[in-house]
């Protein structure tokens, strides 16, 4: 077999595996995570042997978790995070402590030293952020109570990794000086004294918060002005990677830093754009991570010690499940939410791989103990999607509660109107709506414009509205009306096509550059089309009539007559093709009609005498 076919070969194998198995798994209702895991098993050393050792790949792919937490942060405004403080500290803290204690006791009963037992307990208490959040958000359950509780616990675990990393060396089996040495090694990357490190940690966190608040906006504005989409993407990546590196440098969890940065930027107008830029990277990396978990499952060990592994997996899942159910009960989660919450979190997490490796290095645990446990964690991750399927198909129906995905508890207020493009045209629309108490979500890709508008309290988001993901991020599913006010006809058509195909019930008001674009839009089924300069031209025409001596009322009526006739004509001519003989003859005909119409109006005004309505007085009276 090809041991190392180079980067492209590797990428090809991983991608093919994903492309083949994920859609299949989704079709079978198993969720994408299970699809990735199965793909990993298939290409792994024990089935088709297409890829080798997974530790490097896994390490790389763990970055997907960082990105995921950045995205989670973007969805969480600081106020919401503050509201979650009780579940994070309460549920998270309790979960970690209780699970650790139970697992450690079991370890001691099984004959391990207390130090090893505690270390194992701590490490196995972690759940998989990647699997849980991916699965829940795929099912649209993140915003349910179960979803929020799961998220809280996972966030606490992510934070807890830091003190755990610091504490593990203290549990070393041999002489204490070694463990102190090990502790120092942990922080070798910084090589700072304790107080310096504390200072560095605070500096980094303050830097993220302050920088995110004050620096990122002008920087993104500057970058956005270049109007190069890929540079914006690059900047987003630089941000996430930079934070990860900074956090690592002071010995903190990169995921936590990214999460923090996300929260800080959650209020920013670039949020949607950041989301849609990072999202594909996150998804691919997470997929890669799941594949590598699947591929790293040691089937040799499994075949040699099936009973041991089986009982370990059952014990791990059972302990976590029961602890979680108890916590859910304690925190008064509704029964359905409690079960989902517990089933979702009942596995070992990706941090276990890191922590086990770390513990072995520091001689806290031996590899004879660690190897079967790593396998146990991997298998528990593999069965999580299965557990959730079981929960959905078997348990949930019995609880007889329909779970609605559209919970009212939306993180963002969804506005009924989206205005795509806030230039000269869209502004008029937006200001009128605003003045009459309608909230609008505005999408624009002119950074200077956005900054100005924000000063006036508009909710404006940066981005190219013809990118459909931005429309989705802006809540097009919930909107009642979309105003396409972009100047570029190509983009207008693209949006009109996409929206009328996917949201046939959404009303669209579209800007047309001129007659030809108006025809195009009408042919695409957009009923409300407005030519961008028609209104102003008409107004000028009316003024011109007044300057030429028309009374105001007569001029206005003439303008109206012209307008209605012209709009009717556009509607009719849109059914014909420009340039065709029929089109030309019909246009000539319509022009004659307009003339007749204006003539009649003129006559009417002439006859508008003082006694017009009683023009024929009875004779002789």
């Amino acid at each position: 077999m090809m041991e190392d076919g180079g980067l492209l070969y590797q990428a090809f194998i991983y991608l093919v595996a994903a492309v083949c198995s994920v859609p299949l798994a989704k079709r079978l209702g198993l969720g994408s995570v299970l699809g990735y895991l199965i793909a990993g098993v298939l290409i792994g050393p024990f089935v088709f042997q297409l890829v080798g050792d997974q530790s490097d790949v896994m390490h790389f792919a763990e970055f997907g978790v960082v990105m995921m937490l950045f995205l989670v942060g973007l969805e969480l405004k600081p106020t919401l995070l503050w509201r979650l403080r009780t579940p994070i500290l309460g549920m998270g803290g309790l979960q970690l402590t209780a699970t650790t204690v139970v697992l450690a006791l079991l370890g001691v009963v099984a004959g391990l030293s207390w130090q090893s037992a505690v270390a194992i307990g701590l490490i196995l208490a972690m759940s998989s952020t990647a699997i849980v959040l991916q699965t829940l958000s795929e099912k649209g359950l993140i915003k349910t109570q179960a979803g929020q509780s799961s998220f809280s616990v996972l966030l606490f675990q992510d934070i807890a990794v830091i003190p755990i990393l610091a504490a593990l060396p203290l549990l070393a089996l041999h002489d204490p000086s070694a463990s102190i040495e090990a502790l120092r090694q942990t922080h070798e990357s910084v090589a700072l004294e304790g107080w310096q490190q504390t200072l560095a940690i605070f500096a980094i966190i303050a830097g993220i918060i302050i920088g995110g608040h004050f620096l990122m906006r002008p920087i993104f504005r500057f970058i956005a002005k270049s109007r190069l989409r890929e540079i914006f993407t690059a900047a987003a990546l630089v941000l996430v990677i930079g934070i990860a590196l900074a956090m690592q440098a002071v010995g903190l969890s990169p995921a936590l830093g990214a999460f923090l940065a996300g929260v800080v930027l959650a209020d920013s107008e670039y949020r949607h754009e950041l989301e849609s830029n990072i999202e594909p990277f996150k998804s691919l990396l997470l997929g890669l991570f799941f594949i590598s978990v699947g591929a790293s499952i040691d089937f040799v060990l499994l075949l040699n010690e099936p009973l041991l592994i089986f009982s370990l997996v059952v014990t791990l899942v059972a302990v976590k499940l029961i602890t979680l159910i108890a916590i859910g009960f304690l925190f008064r989660l509704p029964t359905t939410d409690n079960f989902l919450f517990s089933f979702a979190l009942a596995q070992g997490g990706e941090f276990a791989f890191v922590l086990f490796a770390f513990a072995t290095q520091n001689q806290v645990l031996t590899s004879e103990i660690v190897d079967p446990l790593i396998l146990t964690v991997a298998i528990s991750m593999l069965i999580t999607p299965i557990l959730i399927v079981v929960h959905d198909r078997l348990l949930q129906p019995r609880l007889n509660v329909s779970r609605t995905a559209d919970t009212p508890d939306n993180i963002d207020d969804i506005n009924p109107v989206i205005i795509a493009g806030f230039g000269r045209f869209g502004q008029v629309v937006g200001r009128l709506l605003h003045a009459n108490g309608f909230n609008t979500t505005v999408l624009d890709h002119d950074a200077t414009q956005i900054e100005l508008l924000r000063k006036f309290g508009y909710k404006v988001f940066y981005g190219d509205a013809s990118q459909t993901d931005l429309l989705h991020a802006a809540g097009i599913e919930q909107a009642k009306l979309l105003v396409i006010a972009i100047g570029d006809p190509e983009k207008v058509m693209k949006i009109a096509d996409h929206v009328s195909k996917n949201f046939p019930d959404l009303r669209i008001i579209a800007r047309a550059r001129g007659r030809v674009d108006a025809y195009e839009l009408i042919r695409r089924g957009v009923q409300l089309v407005h030519r961008e300069t028609f209104g102003a031209g008409l107004d000028a025409g009316v003024e011109a009539l007044r300057c030429l001596g028309f009374r105001a009322y007569q001029a206005v009526r003439a303008g109206r007559t012209f307008k209605y006739h012209d709009e009717e004509a556009i509607r009719e001519l849109s059914k014909l093709r420009e340039g065709e003989a029929q089109y030309i003859s019909r246009s000539i005909q319509l022009r004659a009609e307009l003339e007749a119409l204006l003539q009649r109006d003129d006559e009417q005004f002439k006859n508008y005498e003082d006694h017009a309505w009683e023009a024929a007085p009875p004779r002789g009276k």
């Binding site: 008409l538 009374r551 005004f605 006859n607 003082d610």
Partner: protein, 253 residues
């Protein structure tokens, strides 16, 4: 930006200053003249007895008017009289209620001048009433802004006086047709003056035929302004035209 002439409010000395403001109206940027009125007694000392008269003029096609144009010209440069051309100011019928109410508050005698269309006024004057005569302004417990003021209808009609009688083809008198205006005035605490009416306008062949009416109109407006009309005599009068010349010769036969 429209110039002021498009919404002429007359050269009234009491409208000491005017400010042009552009309104984005439905079908064009229509210039509206916002009037900054002087405080009621500040510069009226030298003409203590004079009343302020507001003529609300409603004609959708003044350009083809025979009678109303001449009548209007007759009162154009009378001091203390403000002519407010409604169709010219609000060609899209978008009436500026606040401005209208300010105008009303400042004037003592309100004149509705219009051709007689379908036994009533042209549409804009109805729209004006519907919007401007608000509850709390013109009527209702706190709606006292118009109390004690006078309302006068000045109108022209093609039909003769006979046509507007029990025996005529219109079967009712002008006073009967004008009842809605009269009652509107009463409800707003105003007194309704006898109307000034030009009958048989379709028989006029030149401005000269209208001239006598125009002169009467002007002298009546001046007399009203100077408070020279006898209230008792007025109350007995059917048409304001008769106040000057009790004979019926003006009433277009």
């Amino acid at each position: 930006m429209g110039d002021e002439s498009q919404c002429q409010l007359g050269d009234d000395p009491i409208t000491s200053s005017t400010l042009t403001k552009t309104y984005g109206a439905q079908a064009g940027s229509i210039a509206l003249t916002v009037i900054w009125l002087p405080r009621n007694n500040s510069n009226n000392n030298n003409m203590r007895e004079r009343k302020n008269i507001l003529i609300l003029f409603a004609h959708p096609a003044l350009q083809s008017s025979k009678v109303n144009k001449v009548l209007l010209d007759a009162v154009r440069n009378v001091s203390n009289v403000l002519i407010h051309d409604l169709y010219e100011c609000y060609p899209d019928l978008h009436i500026n209620v606040q401005q209208e109410q300010r105008l009303l508050a400042h004037h003592d005698i309100i004149v509705f001048q219009h051709p007689f269309y379908w036994y009533s006024s042209p549409a804009i004057l109805k729209e004006w009433q519907d919007l401007v005569l608000e509850y709390g302004f013109a009527y209702g417990r706190t709606g006292t802004a118009l109390r004690g003021k006078k309302l006068l209808t000045v109108t022209s009609t093609g039909g003769s006086l006979h046509g507007y009688s029990q025996e005529g083809h219109n079967r009712h008198t002008m006073r009967e047709f004008l009842r809605p205006f009269e009652q509107t005035a009463v409800l707003c605490g105003m007194s309704y003056l006898p109307p000034f009416i030009v009958h048989g306008s379709h028989r006029f062949s030149s401005d000269e035929d209208i001239e006598p009416y125009a002169q009467d109109y002007r002298s009546l407006i001046e007399a009203l302004r100077d408070g020279k009309l006898d209230e008792e005599h007025l109350a007995e009068t059917d048409y304001l035209n008769d106040y000057l010349t009790p004979s019926n010769h003006h009433r277009g036969n």
